[in-house]
Amino acid sequence: MEKYETHTHDVIIIGAGGAGLRAAIESSAKGASTALICKSLLGKAHTVMAEGGVAAALANVDTKDNWETHFKDTMKGGKMLNNWQMALYHAQEAPERVRELEYWGALFDRTKEGGINQRAFGGHTWKRLAHVGDRTGLEMIRTLQEKGIHSGIDVYMECTITHLVKDGDRVVGAFGYWRESGKFVLFRANAIVLATGGVGKAYKYTSNSWEYTGDGHAMAYEAGAELIDMEFIQFHPTGMVWPPSVRGILVTEAVRGEGGILTNSEGERFMERYDPERMELSTRDVVARSIYTEVEQGRGSPHGGAFLDVSHRGADYVKRKLPSMYHQFMEFADIDITKGPMEVFPTTHYVMGGVKVEGDTCSSTVPGLFAAGEVAGGMHGANRLGGNSLSDLLVFGKRAGEGAAAYASGKSHASVSAELIEGYANELREPFNNTQGENPYTIHQDLQDVMQLYIGVFRTEENIQTGIDKIEALKERARTLKIEGSVMFNPGWHLCRDLKSMLIVSEALARCALARKESRGAHSRVDFPESDDGTWGKLNFIVASKDGVMDLETRPIVEMPDELSKLFTEDK
């Protein structure tokens, strides 16, 4: 076969958003030779787009806040389906992880007393989100990037990993290609951390960047790891609606956190009907369904959304606290949000489901394979609270880095089967060699339409089944792809493997959505509108590959210990 490069490290981390960077910093700090592999240039990962803030019970603004309340908010927001151990670590460790960013140079917005300022967000009892205007993710990724490049990590940019390489049960390497040259590369390692983010690009309207093609989910699945809770995909209530070119781009929850009001075409503040107590700051699943319902019932805005207005806070305030939103609407939609309302509609934002991991070390069910951040499942249960993903990636990025470094320590590198590698290489080159075949761009667009239509905010057995049939047909078509051009920086070729990942994850989403016959969090079944706490509320879905076929099983949730469950009864 053609020649390829080989690099050898103790730990490799696939994905260089917040979770990957945090994992790499920790792994390196623990003395492991650490590689960080990113699909794009460093600092461009999806974390850069996070806006509203990072949730941590620092209690700088609302002094009553504490980890117990954050833990409870997270579990309730996730409809008690969360991995309680993860939610517990997350609530307890987030404050220190946020302060740490400050020690590394981050400049969060300040309170009058000179501490880190915090803002209100949906489902959080207290003002909890540390932020920098509405560009918190950029601040975080830059801070971690800066810390990272001075931490002795080897960074490999614009490298796509396509296959996890196993020796017996455990992962021993990762194979992929340089985007620039199209040449193959093998990374040998004793531990691998997946930090590849989500899968929003399987949908037509999404707030996610191009990298969100479910690579980590798919590679873990192919390597035999279990995925959990895949039916839960978050539709962020407020994406842009108009013009068509920007449909789906995120409108940060901070707009509502800063007092933004939602109204319908009749001028009614409709959240009064859906959640009179929390109103616009209800959890994302509720607000998304409410907006969707208003539009469905004919009370939508001119372009089929709801109105979101924050102009009453005054132009100066809006420009100071929501500068990106101001520019985004001004430049893309010719709308001045300091003077009038935006139009918003739910947009695919985040996958709660992911690789099943242990909270302690983020180890998956495959030895040597770890996962952190959005690609990991369990932490957020059936619905994630805003701000909890940025804290998740810090807390579990660190834990995964630590876990991977400890696992790798003292192990010698296993041999990698040449035959295996040749098989992967041939599979990847196939679209160049096929004389006939489909255009990957066409199949991608078709998949996006299918997911948008059939596995959306509201679901029924009939439409999910239709979605599954269509995904099956797309899988068949995607078997033979054909592309033009050379192997050098060829986006059409890159899409071929990304498409395969998206198809695997889409199928998992659809199959779990069909199986969960109740409504819970982000999963809303029109044919089963109620939550069934006694039955379904006690079960997680596990997806795994059995002899090449997608297998689905239910597994009882792990009950939390008494001292924690007491927190919830005391509350009543």
Binding site: S40, L41, G43, K44, A45, H46, V48, M49, R99, E102, Y103, W104, G105, L107, F108, D109, R110, E113, G114, G115, V132, R135, L138, E139, R142, E146, K147, I149, H150, M157, E180, S209, W210, E211, W242, P243, P244, S245, V246, I249, L250, H327, Q328, E331, F332, A333, N439, P440, Y441, Q445, I483, E484, G485, M488, F489, N490, P491, G492, W493, L495
Partner: protein, 243 residues
Amino acid sequence: MSVAKLRVFRGDAQGGEEKEYEVPVDEGMVVLDALFYIQANYDGDLAIRWNCKAAKCGSCSTEINGKPKLACKTRMDSFAEGETITVYPIKAFPVIKDLVTDVSWNYEVSKKIPPFTPAEDTEWIMYQEDVERGQEFRKCIECFMCQNVCHILRDHNRKDAFAGPRFMIKIAEREMHPLDVLDRREFAREEAGVGFCNITKCCTEVCPEDIHITDNGIIPLKERVVDKYYDPLSWLLRKIKGK
């Protein structure tokens, strides 16, 4: 729906040529959408970097009708009806393929800048007015368009001597961090070549984040360097301390 004509650079380090494409234009469409249309319908291998398509990541810097722009932020309706739109890679960096250039030099420079360094016993209190100067520079999305238009890099190719505007504000940001204790003035002068900038402000003009690179970053940095090196008292102190 109208149809736009785009002339896009296709080629690599060895050279290339413009290729013309016709793309239907929808309301609110941006140049990046037009490039996607070309990929999906004409040439699947057209290379362009992009990530967020929301002007937040700074990946899709190109030269559109000769001007450095983010392709995701340049609306098709900003051109006259029938106007041909040319799209080229940014000029200050070597072409890899089509619209993708080799910007790795920037990452090498970035690594050389001494990191944020707080005192051992720092009390972590900072006020909003103290962090705002740094926050302005930290808005930078690293699109490298300021590097691209800086004539020291673009026309004179002095990458050996000048770190460029993006890294001037990075040094400035560290220097202005209220809790940083490291002195980077020598670095700014000797390694980063702050003296090369002659304040033409081209960088400020192209910044998609409206960072006042020259006024708020480079000029204050130059002043600090001048204070250190040309202030007679500092000069005397350096002599005595032997630094």
